[in-house]
Every structure is written in structure tokens, then in C-alpha cells.
């Protein structure tokens, strides 16, 4: 299972349970309002609580919540566990663009090109204020902090062009701080890497 | 509906306020702890550059003044107005001594080019910069509290003189005193953290 699938499963799990709960809460609420309206039920029963019920609806949500925590955590492990043979690329955020530095010192601005079928590890830092590297297609995001190196990784498993955005507010050009990720076949990548 | 003055209530309010003051410094102590963990050797190096004698003298001065403030409250309760006034004046004087010491201490540091954003700190080791940065922020904020405390004591002094603070109604003086103890208490933490570190 790829990390993307792991995260998506967690999304389905949590959103599914939530929708179910929301539907239940709303339906019961509306039913009560109609069923026990004053014209139909002029005298209310004097019920002040029910320990059994209260314990049940404390414990069951706790278990559900813990299971959600577990699903979320395991999918996070997937995002943090980098395969050993990953290609490492250094990334630096600056106001307002992304710089990518490859192992052979090739440097590009706002253009990240990686070969198909490889794991890619991005070592992220910032040259000025906080930024955050976000590639929605791979469900990854990490803050770029000056004086600190953070990382993310993804598995480049499908040819195509993907958006990279900055998600930590960094000033006037924040929303223009975009870059492109291109996943290309290995041969094309090697050719590109050698270009000036 | 309420009859008379609820001294306990006033004290609860004051304690809650003091609590918030401690948390205010608490935020800074959290910073201190985090940076101490990061730069232990520079903290001990910086600590040695501070003047322990002045620090110790200031500690004693504050402790004594705390005692005299407490004594002045007792004096008011015993209707010894003159004695209370004398003790209060002495306490405020102690505050002045503290600030004068602080002034000379800071002055000496400035003289050695150690102050926020100074050449020596900016181009020197970052750990030292953080140590002295925290030193200035924490002692500066504490100094501000000393001044506020002195103002409160002065107001109480005027009220004692005017006969507005009496043995049956001394909440103002008591709360000013509590505030002064807080100033003292915080210093008791600041002193070892900066002057006696390792």
C-alpha cells in the first residue's frame, strides 16, 4: 500500500464514521422535535439522566475516537518512512519561489523533475520566513523553516504534471509561490539532469 | 445585598491576578528551559559574566523589603500608623536601591558591548546571544514589575498617611504587599537561573 492509499483510507474511515454519526444525530434530533411537539405531547416526562446511557455514550465514542487516532497514525507512519534507495533533492523556499537542488548540483526554480518509479525524498529548508511545501496529489506537506531541515517523501508512480503550492502564509506573493512537479520516464529524466 | 467588605473575596481576586502574573513569567521560563537544553555550555559561560555580587545584594534587598512590607501590614493592624509609614518608605527605598543596582549592572554590560543586537552578540556565539537576550527580556520585565510594585506601595503609603487604610480596612495595602512579594518571588527564580547557572 502506498502512503497516498494509506492516507486516503484514513480519510474514508474517518469521514465515513463522521457522516454516519452526523446523520444519526440530526435524524434523532428532528424526530424528537416533531414527535414530542407540545401540541402532541403537552406534558413532559421528568427524566433527569440515566447513568447507564451516559456511560455507554462516553465509552463507545472513546473507542471510535481511538480507532480513528490509530488509522491516522499508521497512515502518518507511511508518510514518514522513507525507502532506503530514495533519490534526495534539496528544496529551499524563499519569498516567493521554490528552489530545487539536485545531487549533481543542478539547480532549478519552481520546477521539480523526477523519474518514474522512484521514491523521492525532499529535504526542505527556508532562506527567509516560514513556508510550507505542499503537493496535494501525494498528500504531503511540510514546513520550510530557516536554520532547520525537514523532509517529506513520495513515490513517483505515475507520469504527469502535479501542482506544488506554499501553504504557510509568507507575505504578498504567498499565493503566487507555485511550482510544478513533473514525473517523467527515467531516460528523459537523466537527459534533463545533464542539461545546463 | 452584600453587607460589609468581603476581604476573602478581594484576596481571591488578587491571588488569581498574581497567578496570571506568574504564568506570564512562566512563558519566559519555558523559553529559558528550551534554550538552556539547547545551549547549556553557553548559558554557564554567560552566567559567569554576570556580576554575582550585585545579584546577591539585590536578592537581599528585595527579601528585606518584602519583610518590611509584611511588617507594615502588621503595624497597621496594631494601629501603629507612624511605624507603618516608616516601614513602607523603607520598602520603597529598597525598590529604588534595586533599580539603581540594576542600572549600574545593565550599564556595565552595555559598556562591554553586550546588549540586544550589539555587534559582539550578533557576530559572536548564538548561544550567548540567546542567553543575554533572555537576560535582558526577563530582568527587564521584572524591573517593570518592580516599578509597578513601587507605584502600588506609594499609593498605599499615601492612603495610610491620609488615614484611608486602617486596621479594619487594609485590603489595598495588603494587596500591594502581595504584589511586592510576587516581585520578590520571581526574582528568587531569576537570580539562580541567570547568576548561579552551573
Amino acid at each position: 500500500m502506498t502512503p497516498v492509499q494509506g492516507v486516503d483510507q484514513a480519510f474514508w474511515y474517518i469521514l465515513g464514521f463522521s457522516t454516519l454519526l452526523l446523520f444519526g444525530i440530526t435524524a434523532v434530533m428532528i424526530y424528537f422535535v416533531i414527535r414530542y411537539r407540545r401540541s402532541k405531547n403537552p406534558v413532559a416526562s421528568d427524566i433527569r439522566g440515566n447513568y447507564f446511557l451516559e456511560i455507554v455514550w462516553t465509552i463507545i465514542p472513546t473507542l471510535i475516537a481511538l480507532s480513528m487516532f490509530y488509522v491516522g497514525w499508521t497512515s502518518y507512519i507511511g508518510l514518514r518512512t522513507v525507502p532506503e534507495n530514495a533519490i534526495e533533492i534539496d528544496v529551499a523556499g524563499q519569498m516567493f519561489s521554490w528552489l530545487f537542488v539536485y545531487e549533481n548540483d543542478k539547480e532549478t526554480e519552481n520546477e521539480l523533475v523526477v523519474p518514474l518509479g522512484e521514491a523521492i525524498k525532499l529535504n526542505v529548508t527556508s532562506l527567509d520566513v516560514l513556508h510550507s511545501l505542499y503537493i496535494p496529489a501525494f498528500r504531503i506537506k511540510i514546513d520550510a523553516v530557516k536554520g532547520m531541515e525537514t523532509y517529506v517523501w513520495f513515490s513517483a508512480d505515475k507520469i504527469g504534471e502535479y501542482d506544488i503550492q506554499c501553504t504557510e502564509y509568507c507575505g504578498t506573493g504567498h499565493s503566487a509561490m507555485l511550482a510544478k512537479l513533473r514525473i517523467v520516464p527515467e531516460s528523459e529524466y537523466l537527459k534533463w539532469l545533464e542539461e545546463e | 445585598m452584600s453587607t460589609g467588605i468581603d476581604k476573602t473575596g478581594i484576596k481571591i481576586g488578587m491571588w488569581l491576578f498574581l497567578y496570571s502574573e506568574i504564568l506570564l513569567f512562566g512563558g519566559l521560563f519555558v523559553l529559558y528551559a528550551a534554550y538552556f537544553y539547547k545551549y547549556p555550555e553557553f548559558f554557564s559561560e554567560g552566567g559567569k559574566e554576570l556580576n554575582r555580587v550585585i545579584g546577591a545584594v539585590n536578592t537581599v534587598v528585595l527579601l528585606v523589603s518584602s519583610f518590611t512590607v509584611a511588617a507594615s501590614i502588621t503595624a497597621v493592624q496594631r494601629k501603629a500608623k507612624k511605624q507603618a509609614i516608616g516601614l513602607l518608605i523603607f520598602s520603597i527605598f529598597c525598590g529604588v536601591v534595586f533599580l539603581v543596582n540594576k542600572y549600574f549592572e545593565w550599564g556595565a554590560k552595555f559598556h562591554h558591548d553586550i546588549y540586544p543586537n550589539s555587534e559582539t552578540l550578533v557576530s559572536g556565539e548564538v548561544g550567548l546571544n540567546i542567553f543575554f537576550g533572555l537576560y535582558y527580556v526577563i530582568t527587564g520585565l521584572h524591573g517593570l514589575h518592580v516599578i509597578i510594585g513601587m507605584i502600588l506601595l506609594s499609593i498605599s503609603l499615601v492612603l495610610v498617611m491620609a488615614g484611608k487604610v486602617t486596621e479594619s480596612k487594609y485590603s489595598m495595602l495588603e494587596n500591594a504587599g502581595l504584589y511586592w512579594h510576587l516581585v520578590d518571588l520571581i526574582w528568587i527564580f531569576v537570580f539562580p537561573l541567570f547568576y548561579l547557572v552551573l
Partner: protein, 548 residues
């Protein structure tokens, strides 16, 4: 009933006249009303800012403003909404007005301090205004004032930060006042488990205010100090750590979320039993969950920082704690719904607003689970998903609780009734507009549109257009709602002392209450939500109010 003079006719302290009777008053009720007008003013301003923002986003590229203006508008929208509306709204208005009455006393413990808090509040507001028109430009850092940007930005950040500092002081002193009042002024016959839930929730809130506000105060002071002296406590080149700032900031600002929502929950806990004519279900559970939220809510701050680069161990711990803090909120929702079971439910505008609250707050809470779980949060962190989530909680939650409280206590505060039909129209329209406005943002967020974006990729245009459209609908609904309330000043239909058939003490005094609140000694009930007498009264043919 004997005719009594309302607090409008009796200045406190006595002898004040004209405007002085308001500006120098120690009366908690007058102060509450003064807060109300100031807070409504700020609410409308910030709402207009929000509408301008969404209008800008309705189409791609520049629509009505440039990025600089956009950035300062969203900063101000956040600062004003949080510090001048959501945090003070319920405690400062309804807390000030009703906490003393619900406790059976004549005022808060420190009336003059209360007045001082109001002045601090106004002063903070003035500072916020000053920051707009002085210095080198509008503040544009976002309400979080993240370093290093907030230290480096050329705009007028210091004054805005000071405004937030002063407003923090004001809310903290109000909290201090409430705690002392709660302990020292409570009627002697009222035990802890006889206190109305609204007051309980304010008590829990007050503790969070006192515990958390100093931390934000010192953090904001540090931002100003850094701007003035460039010490470098958060500057990596000088040995500082910007992540520490975030820790300090959220150590306050997450508990602040509970400062915002707890009083709203208190309001709902009052309204649901009254219109179900049935005791609240699980009174003790609600009290304990309030206190539980206050405590646990202080331990989860770093769930705002999963992507900040902090250690995976911290991420694990904070995620786990976050899920545990969700439970008390769930318990409250279940209790409210169970309260309606076998009740005798009368539909009124406050109840409708409370039901909308339960729905919107549930959505907000449940989407919070997506954000609490680490793997999913990474994807939607700092996207429109988060924007939508916290608006569901803060606006759908606190905002609607505020509207509900206005409709619930309006007759008591002003002694007049408003029209029901327009109130329903306003409430429903607001709710529909709300959903149109914020649901598209959930989808935008899942698609990956970041927040605080002046412009966006073409694929996000439809969602943004819909959200903008919903925004207009939402504002129209609020306009109708407020318009209807204000019309009541013109129609002046007098409200009886207990128009709803409620049981807590504020409904035993005249509407509006006299200056010392109680005409005769308050009768403390064994249990605050005992409706048996209300039913009996009605049987004897005593109608509590005309149906409007």
C-alpha cells in the same frame, strides 16, 4: 406584581445622569449592554471584511483588490472576529448580564474592575483601528503573527499586537471577576450542583482565560520586543527557534478555542431544557464535561503543528490527546438531544437557532476528527478545509449560540418581544447561506486549496464562486435577523417576566430587571431545571405570553 423601576431608570452608582450614567456605571447590566453595542459594531465590521475577501475570491485573478489589501483584510478579519467578537461576545454581554442574576446576587464582585475591563476592551478596539491608519501600512501577518514574518514585516504589526494584548487583559479580568463572584457572591442557599449550566460554563471559561491569557500576552510582548530590539529569540541566525514561538502561541490559542466555545455550549444547555420543558439530561455530566474540556483543552495545543517539523513523538502524543478532548463535546451533544426525548417541545426562534447550533457544531466537531488524525491532517492542514472547520465551530457554534442567546434573553434585557416570523426567516436564511458558504470550502480544502490565498489555480474557481455566493446569502440572513430584533424597539410589545416558561433565577425578576436585580429574596430551587411548577402554572390557565 408590584411595579418596579427597571435598571434603565435607576443609575448605579446613584446620582449619575445622562451619558455619565452609562460611561461611569458599575451596574453589570448596563456594562453588558455597552459591551453589546461595541461588540455588534465590531462584528459587522469584520463580517464586511470577510464578505470583501470572498468577493475577491469569487473569480480568479484580481477582482476588487490587490494582494496587499487582501492580506491585511484577512488579518484584520481574524484579529477582530477573535479578539473583539468571538471571545468576548457571550461572556462579556450575557455573562455580565446574567451570571450575577443566575447566582442570585446584585452585581459582580468587583464592579469597578468590570467597568475598567470595558474601558480596556474599548481601548484595545481603538488600538486596532489606529494600527490601520498609522505606520507603514496595514498589518498583514495573519492573526497568528507567526515569526519570523511578523518580526520582519514592514507593516504596522506592533500596534495590532498591542491591541490584542490589551484585549487579552480585558477578557482575563472579566474571568477573574466571574470566578470571584461565583465563589463569594452566590446565594447562600445555592449549592454547587444547583448552579445553572450557563454560569457553570462561564466559570470553566474563566479558568481557561486566567490560565492561558498570560501566555499569549508574553508571546505578543516578545513579538514587539523583537521588532524593537531584534534580540533574535526566534531568529535562527541568532540562535533562536521559530518553532518555539508556535508552541507558545498555541499554548494559549488552542485553549482560547474553548474560551470561545464553552460559553456557547452553556447557552444551548439553558435553551434546550426550557423549550422542551424538561430537565437537562445528565446535569452533572455536562458540568464535568465543561471542566474536563477546560483541563484537557489546555494539553492539545501542538495539534496545530503536525507539519511544523516537530518530533514524531510529539505528534503522536498530541494527536492522541486531541482525540480524547473530543469526547466531552460529544457527551454534551448527546445530552442535549436526550433532553428533548419525551419532552414537550415548543418551537421558538431561540430553540430553532439552538438546533441549528447542534447541527453545525456537530459538523465542525466531526471534521475536527479529520484534523486530529495525523495522516489526514497533513493533507488538509492550512487549506480551506481548516478554514471551513473552524468557521463551523466558531461561527456555526459560538456565532449561532450568540444569536440564540440574543433571541432567548432579548425580552429580559430590553423588556420587549420581537416578531417570530421574521426571526425564523432570518435564522433559516442564515443557516442556508452558512452551508452554501462553508461546505464548498471543505471540498476546496480536500482538493488542496491552501488558505490565505489571494489567487488560486483554475481548478478551484467553481468552489470559490459558490462560497462567495453563499457569503452574500449569509449576510442577508444576518441582516434580516438583526433588523427584526431592532424593529422590536419600535413596536415595543412588552415582555412578561417569564415569557418562555423557564426556571432559572433571571426569569423570576421583572423584565428588564431593577438595578439590584431582585425585588424579593431569590428562592433557590432544589434543582435548577425543575419544570414541575411551570406546568402547574400553565394548567391554571396562566398563559406566559401572547403567541406572536
Amino acid at each position: 406584581m408590584i411595579k418596579t423601576e427597571s435598571f434603565y431608570d435607576t443609575p448605579a452608582p446613584a446620582g449619575l445622569t445622562g451619558i455619565k450614567a452609562w460611561l461611569l456605571t458599575h451596574d453589570h447590566k448596563r456594562l453588558a449592554l455597552m459591551y453589546m453595542w461595541a461588540i455588534l459594531f465590531w462584528f459587522v465590521i469584520a463580517m464586511m471584511f470577510g464578505l470583501l475577501l470572498r468577493t475577491e475570491l469569487m473569480s480568479q485573478g484580481r477582482t476588487i483588490m490587490g494582494p496587499e489589501v487582501y492580506n491585511s483584510l484577512f488579518t484584520l478579519h481574524g484579529v477582530i472576529m477573535i479578539f473583539l467578537f468571538v471571545i468576548p461576545a457571550i461572556p462579556a454581554i450575557f455573562g455580565n448580564f446574567f451570571l450575577p442574576i443566575q447566582l442570585g446576587t446584585d452585581d459582580v464582585f468587583f464592579p469597578r474592575l468590570n467597568l475598567f475591563s470595558w474601558y480596556l476592551f474599548m481601548f484595545g478596539g481603538v488600538f486596532a483601528l489606529i494600527s490601520l491608519f498609522t505606520g507603514e501600512g496595514f498589518p498583514d501577518t495573519g492573526w497568528t503573527f507567526y515569526v519570523p514574518f511578523s518580526v520582519e514585516a514592514n507593516s504596522n504589526v506592533s500596534v495590532t499586537v498591542m491591541a490584542a494584548f490589551i484585549l487579552g487583559m480585558s477578557s482575563m479580568l472579566t474571568g477573574l471577576n466571574f470566578i470571584t463572584t461565583f465563589h463569594r457572591m452566590r446565594d447562600k442557599n445555592m449549592g454547587l450542583m444547583q448552579i445553572p449550566l450557563f454560569t457553570w460554563s462561564l466559570y470553566a471559561t474563566a479558568w481557561v482565560q486566567i490560565l492561558a491569557t498570560p501566555v499569549i500576552s508574553i508571546t505578543l510582548v516578545l513579538v514587539v520586543v523583537e521588532r524593537l530590539f531584534s534580540i533574535g529569540l526566534f531568529e535562527p541566525d541568532k540562535g533562536g527557534d521559530p518553532i518555539l514561538y508556535q508552541h507558545l502561541f498555541w499554548m494559549y490559542s488552542h485553549p482560547a478555542v474553548y474560551i470561545m466555545i464553552l460559553p456557547g455550549m452553556g447557552v444551548i444547555s439553558e435553551i434546550i431544557p426550557v423549550f422542551s420543558r424538561k430537565s437537562i439530561f445528565g446535569y452533572k455530566a455536562i458540568v464535568w464535561s465543561s471542566m474536563g474540556i477546560a483541563v484537557a483543552g489546555s494539553l492539545v495545543w501542538a495539534h496545530h503543528m503536525y507539519t511544523s517539523g516537530m518530533s514524531d513523538v510529539s505528534v503522536f502524543v498530541f494527536s492522541l490527546l486531541t482525540f480524547l478532548v473530543a469526547i466531552p463535546s460529544a457527551v454534551k451533544v448527546f445530552s442535549w438531544i436526550a433532553t428533548m426525548h419525551k419532552g414537550s417541545i415548543e418551537m421558538t426562534p431561540p430553540l430553532l437557532l439552538a438546533l441549528i447550533f447542534i447541527y453545525l457544531f456537530s459538523v465542525g466537531g466531526l471534521t475536527g476528527l479529520v484534523l486530529g488524525a495525523v495522516g489526514t491532517d497533513i493533507h488538509v492542514h492550512d487549506t480551506h478545509f481548516v478554514v471551513s472547520h473552524f468557521h463551523f465551530v466558531m461561527f456555526g457554534g459560538t456565532g449561532f449560540a450568540f444569536f440564540a442567546a440574543l433571541h432567548f434573553w432579548w425580552p429580559k434585557m430590553f423588556g420587549i418581544m420581537y416578531e417570530f416570523k421574521n426571526a425564523y426567516i432570518g435564522a433559516v436564511l442564515t443557516a442556508i447561506g452558512f452551508l452554501f458558504h462553508y461546505v464548498p470550502m471543505f471540498i476546496l480544502g480536500l482538493q488542496g486549496m491552501p488558505r490565505r490565498y489571494y489567487d488560486y489555480l483554475p481548478k478551484y474557481e467553481t468552489g470559490n464562486f459558490l462560497a462567495g455566493f453563499g457569503g452574500y446569502l449569509l449576510c442577508l440572513g444576518i441582516l434580516i435577523m438583526f433588523g427584526n430584533l431592532f424593529m422590536s424597539f419600535k413596536r415595543r410589545i412588552p415582555a412578561p417576566s417569564d415569557p418562555w416558561g423557564a426556571t432559572t433565577l433571571e426569569w423570576t425578576v421583572p423584565s428588564p430587571p431593577p438595578v439590584h436585580n431582585f425585588v424579593k429574596k431569590p428562592q433557590i430551587k432544589e434543582f435548577p431545571y425543575d419544570f414541575s411548577e411551570v406546568g402547574k402554572r400553565e394548567k391554571n390557565g396562566e398563559k406566559s405570553r401572547k403567541i406572536l
